[in-house]
């Protein structure tokens, strides 16, 4: 069974780390990740840019593009995509296409700051 592990933390706290503190945490995480990767058990790992860079597509009819992160609490996180796009416009278009296929709810669009593609056997 594949498991997704979703990372939550206070953005202000993480954002106020010094570069050295940040590097230290990332190095410690890399040790854990490397072990999993060697065992062929690590899928993609992503670190997202801050929520200030987020855009949300509400899958209403018609769909509504809003600045900022997804802020409601009545819906739950059910899945995610990682898509290569030239810019935010393209990413919003992708989200619209997905939304047309599956209306209702919302997509939060976040630029990925760091991606490790992972080493899962296909």
């Amino acid at each position: 069974m594949l498991y997704a592990i979703l990372c939550y933390h206070d953005e202000d706290t993480v954002g106020s780390w010094t570069k050295e503190q940040d590097t230290e945490v990332m190095q410690k995480l890399a040790v854990v990740q490397d072990k999993l990767a060697r065992q062929g058990r690590l899928g993609p790992v992503a670190r997202l840019l801050p929520t200030t860079a987020a855009t949300t597509l509400r899958k209403d009819d018609p769909p509504l593009v809003l600045d900022g992160p997804y802020a409601e609490t009545k819906e739950q996180l059910l899945g995610f995509y990682v898509v290569d796009c030239k810019n935010l416009d393209e990413a919003v278009d992708v989200a619209r296409d997905l939304g047309a296929a599956n209306p209702g709810g919302a997509y939060e669009i976040r630029p990925v700051g760091l991606l490790r593609p992972g080493s899962l056997p296909s």
């Binding site: 954002g15 106020s16 840019l49 200030t52 860079a53 600045d67 900022g68 935010l88």
Partner: protein
């Protein structure tokens, strides 16, 4: 993270919201600040024992308000009051107040708090000092250090600024759309000033003043989270992020300035640049351009170039052209001329800056840039005159040292030529 580090971080990040709300209750900056201080003292006692509250800002606002009301009552009537433990059950009350703190109020609370600091009667340096003290919660000592003045002088500066603000009429009603947007513009300008205080430092002072850049970025992000659909706030945040991304590459070991073309680009902070680029991308979708967005776009073109020769100077020239229309200023034209020199050559650039001579006759960069154009054209005597003038006008020793480097090169060139001619 240790308890105290966690609590410090929580108090700092709750501060703008808590002081802003307390200011709305008490309509007096000193009372609001004191109430917040008292709430912090109680937090330091209570949080390690009872665990952190769900919403630290709501906790601080409620406790701060209760304590201040008690103090007011106590000073009015000299009668005994119940101990704080008896006043309220914080757990129940916290939930109530947290519900009332739905975004609508606190957005304007924080904006008001920032706006008070940029009162138009205050000189820029006082605005910045006041904001760092009241909104960011830096100590007078920290601020004095960043401004390279004594603690006593800074204390006096802040006290004066506060007195002025106290006399001014601060509007407490919820602002209308036009007023909100005016406040936002003033506050954005102040955040940019804070950043520049840090960014324009050089040499030994660069490291001491770097926290000002970080604080400005923190405030810009805070503002952006409150006003998520303002493209100019996205532009401002992007501009600060991209400029700050170059911090590690801007000075050599002796503290001398390294110009953009000569910087080691591997030292640029990639994740700050990525964040800045993402914000510009987001801002552009609004099709409402403005000076911060344009400046951020210019910074982004520099950041995107892996080597100096990859820089898209044509696009930079166009963007400066747009900025000249939005914000006409000889300094903008001077910057544009640098782009023009790369696209059309130094002759065209020189023609462009000649009309600025009268208005920029005391501006260091004008003579530095002019000297560089003349040098490129081989008009070395004129270049030397311009560089001499630049040195006389230099604001920092790093600026002077940079110009001296050019003069040395001119000297070497003319000696080499003299030898050739003599043969």
């Amino acid at each position: 993270m240790t308890d105290s580090a966690w609590i410090d971080a929580a108090l700092t990040s709750a501060r703008p919201q808590a002081v802003g709300a307390l200011l709305r209750y008490f309509r007096n900056l000193d009372t609001a600040e004191e109430a917040f201080q008292n709430a912090c003292l109680r937090a330091l006692k209570s949080w390690p024992q009872n665990g952190p509250p769900r919403d630290p800002a709501a906790w601080l606002i409620m406790v701060g308000r209760n304590v201040a009301i008690d103090d007011l009552r106590r000073s009015k009537k000299q009668e005994a009051l119940p101990e704080d433990e008896a006043i309220s059950d914080l757990d129940d009350a916290e939930e109530q107040i947290a519900e009332r703190l739905d975004g609508s109020h606190y957005r304007d609370d924080i904006l008001r708090l920032l706006f008070i600091c940029c009162h138009r009667d205050l000189p820029a340096t006082q605005q910045i000092a006041l904001a760092l003290r009241i909104v960011s919660g830096l100590t007078v000592k920290q601020i004095a250090r960043a401004f390279l003045v004594s603690e006593a002088a800074m204390e006096q500066r802040i006290t004066r600024a506060k007195a002025r603000v106290a006399d001014a009429d601060v509007p407490f009603e919820t602002p209308g759309a036009v007023e909100r947007s005016e406040r936002l513009t003033s506050v954005a300008a102040m955040i940019y000033l804070i950043f520049n205080e840090g960014y324009s430092a050089s040499g030994d002072t660069a490291e001491i003043r770097a926290p000002l850049c970080e604080e400005a970025i923190r405030l810009a992000r805070l503002l952006l989270r409150l006003f998520q659909s303002e493209p100019e706030i996205m532009g401002l945040t992007a501009l600060l992020l991209i400029q700050h991304a170059r911090a590690a590459a801007r000075f050599d070991a002796d503290g001398a300035v390294i110009l953009l073309d000569d910087q080691d680009r591997s030292l640029w902070n990639k994740s700050l640049i990525a964040e800045g680029l993402a914000l510009i991308d987001k801002a552009m979708r609004h099709r409402r351009s403005g000076p911060y967005q344009v400046q951020a776009a210019i910074a982004a073109l520099h950041a995107r170039a892996e080597k100096p020769e990859d820089t898209d100077w044509t696009q930079i020239d166009l963007l400066y052209g747009a900025l000249e229309i939005m914000q006409p200023s000889p300094v903008v034209t001077l910057n544009r001329a640098v782009a023009v020199s790369k696209v059309k050559g130094p002759e065209a650039a020189l023609d462009m800056i000649e009309p600025l001579a009268a208005r920029l006759s005391n501006y260091f960069h004008f003579f530095g840039v002019r000297g560089a154009f003349l040098m490129q054209l081989g008009r070395n005597d004129e270049a030397r005159t311009a560089f001499d003038r630049a040195i006389a006008l230099a604001n920092t020793s790093a600026e002077a040292a940079h110009i001296r480097m050019h003069l040395d090169r001119l000297q070497r060139d003319s000696q080499a030529r003299g030898k050739k001619a003599g043969k």
